[in-house]
């Protein structure tokens, strides 16, 4: 490398580093007023996360390394609050509860200490549902919800594939009612879709080990979980096995997913109607080519009755009005 070229390269590195530093300072000027330097640095990262990814998936929130004592630190979309949880040890005979601290960003003062009824061993991600409600995902199967302004946990769910409606009022998830570990006979391996409300506080006693979730099974039939008797499917083709995530429509009215049932692959769309304690479901099923198995993504086409279903090889466009299924050219 010639000396001139080396000097030019060094100059470019210095300019790049200066630009990066300047960009960081500019972003910091927009950060909400808070107290400590560590908190400031962490909150800038957290607010970038919210700003850049307003619809961040449950499993994509990241842990901020600025202060290991404040884990999963994140600010509300309107920047009024910041929450984080303290380090916790889930093991032992009397483990301390998972505890979240809520900070008022205007004063920088902690305003709430919120213990969470928590059965998971790890916290996977923390997301804001709205300006005051926070969802905490544990491992791959626990969802707790707390209200910063009430200073209380409001909900606790156990299952998989949690999806919160865009309006933040409901959560759907899957559950097979099998234990987490051990041998499960194949005739019990059938999935159910549950619907839970996020509006009404449900937990009356967060220390209740049975975790009141007050959800309802809405598919393949409507059942209250506390009346649920697990079925053994002697004909394994009668089982329902969900093969995709659960996808809410933009208007929070419908839920779509892909399942196998009777040895066929189906796109299922549910439209739950909740009136008080009663839930009724309108459903629509569209058969897909069974080669579309291994679904990698499922999404509603904006402002339409169309759903895109993709796997590694192809993308299908399902029109719910006509029931037609068409492959999408790879450039779209």
């Amino acid at each position: 490398m010639s000396r001139n070229y080396r000097l030019l390269l060094q100059a470019m590195i210095v300019i790049a580093a200066s630009s990066l530093a300047f960009a960081t300072i500019r972003k910091a000027r927009h950060a909400p007023p808070i107290v400590s330097t560590a908190e400031r640095a962490a909150t800038v990262i957290a607010s970038e996360l919210e700003t850049n990814n307003p619809k961040i998936a449950l499993n994509q929130a990241r842990q901020v390394p600025a202060d290991m004592g404040k884990q999963h630190l994140t600010s509300s979309p309107d920047q009024r609050y910041t929450v984080y949880h303290l380090p916790f040890n889930p093991y032992g005979t009397s483990p301390k509860p998972l505890t979240f601290i809520a900070v008022d960003n205007r004063t920088g003062e902690p305003i709430r200490s919120i213990p969470i009824n928590w059965r998971a061993r790890t916290v996977s991600s923390v997301i804001w549902i709205d300006g005051r409600t926070v969802a905490v995902l544990g491992e791959a199967g626990y969802l707790a919800v707390f209200d910063v302004e009430m200073g209380e946990q409001t909900h606790n769910f156990g299952g998989r594939n949690f999806a919160i409606s865009p309006n933040g009022s409901q959560v759907v998830y899957t559950h097979d009612f099998n234990p987490n570990y051990g041998y499960i006979s194949p005739e019990f391996k059938s999935d159910y879709v549950l619907l839970g409300s996020l509006k009404q506080p449900e937990l009356t006693n967060i220390n209740d080990r049975n975790d009141h979730s007050d959800s309802k099974v809405i598919y393949p039939e409507i059942i209250s979980p506390n009346k649920f008797e697990q079925k053994a499917f002697k004909n394994l083709a009668d089982r329902h096995q969900i093969k995709s995530t659960l996808a809410w429509s933009e208007d929070s009215q419908r839920i779509a997913f892909v399942e196998t049932h009777q040895e066929k692959l189906w796109l299922v769309v549910l439209q739950p109607k909740v009136q008080g304690e009663d839930v009724t479901i309108d459903s629509q099923k569209v058969e897909l080519d069974s080669s579309t198995d291994n679904i990698s993504s499922l999404s509603w086409v904006s402002n339409s009755d169309q759903i895109k279903v993709s796997n590694d090889l192809t993308t299908l466009l399902v029109d719910l009005n006509t029931g037609t299924v068409q492959p999408v050219p790879s450039d779209q």
Partner: protein, 308 residues
Amino acid sequence: MARYDGAIVCNGVGSATISAETYQRYFRDYACSQPYPLTARSTLTNSPKVRVTSASICEDRISINLSPANVTGYLEVFLDGPNGSVKLAFRNQAGGDTREYFYTRNLPTQEFTKIRVTWRVNNITGTGTLDYRMKVLGDYEQSCYNTPSEGDFSGATFRAGTATSACVWSARDFISGFLFEVSENGSGVDIGGTPIQLEGFCGINGGTSPPATSPAYCSERYGCKRFRRPANILTECAVPPQVDRTLARGPQSVLGCNDAVFVDGIGCRVVEDGGSRVRANQLDNYKGVGEAACNTWGNSFKKTVKLF
């Protein structure tokens, strides 16, 4: 006339060339009428010999033998794979037996198929290899799980239906919190030390159905369950769980039943169970019966390697 260049010490490493002048350029095999060219130069090379005698990531050991023993050279140890090589170590090393390590914590996420060792003495390099297939999966979060023990619980009891393996039904008082844990974890050990597991056979796949005097324990989260007592507690892979051996992986994991795994800082384990709530990059380590089994555990991310 002959000439001798170079030097080879007896039992040593080096190269020497012997050259000779000859007046005859070919040797003719008259029987076959085949001419053979005569070379006027011959190089003798005594290379360093490298043998990778054995390796075990479970013992963090790569055993190497270098000969001759009375010389010193430059040793390099590599892991080779379809996506490239990683140099594990380099140093000056005397001949004889030596040991190297896998340095698992620093390994990139990729597959390796071979250990390759080179040793350069007097500018001559000897190479030895050993087939060794492993796939570094990345940093997996290591958590702990146990078999619930009724002795760790207190509070209200519930009379729940139990069945023997012969589907003889009865009922027994258990602490409700314990039954919830059994419903969640699939098995447990009751206050008398008897293993119990969820019952899913009697009246379903054979045997007699439960009578009304053997009621189910119902929870909102897991529905209504009855229990097998006594039970042979089995994992998802249908083997008994073993402390410091059994790992549970999640439904999205790339690992399957009976896959051997090395976890840095923990050791070699076998995937023998499934945990429906376990994440794809998480492994649950089985530590035994009761809450005390996991008392000293601390979750941490550790480099995890699949062995073949």
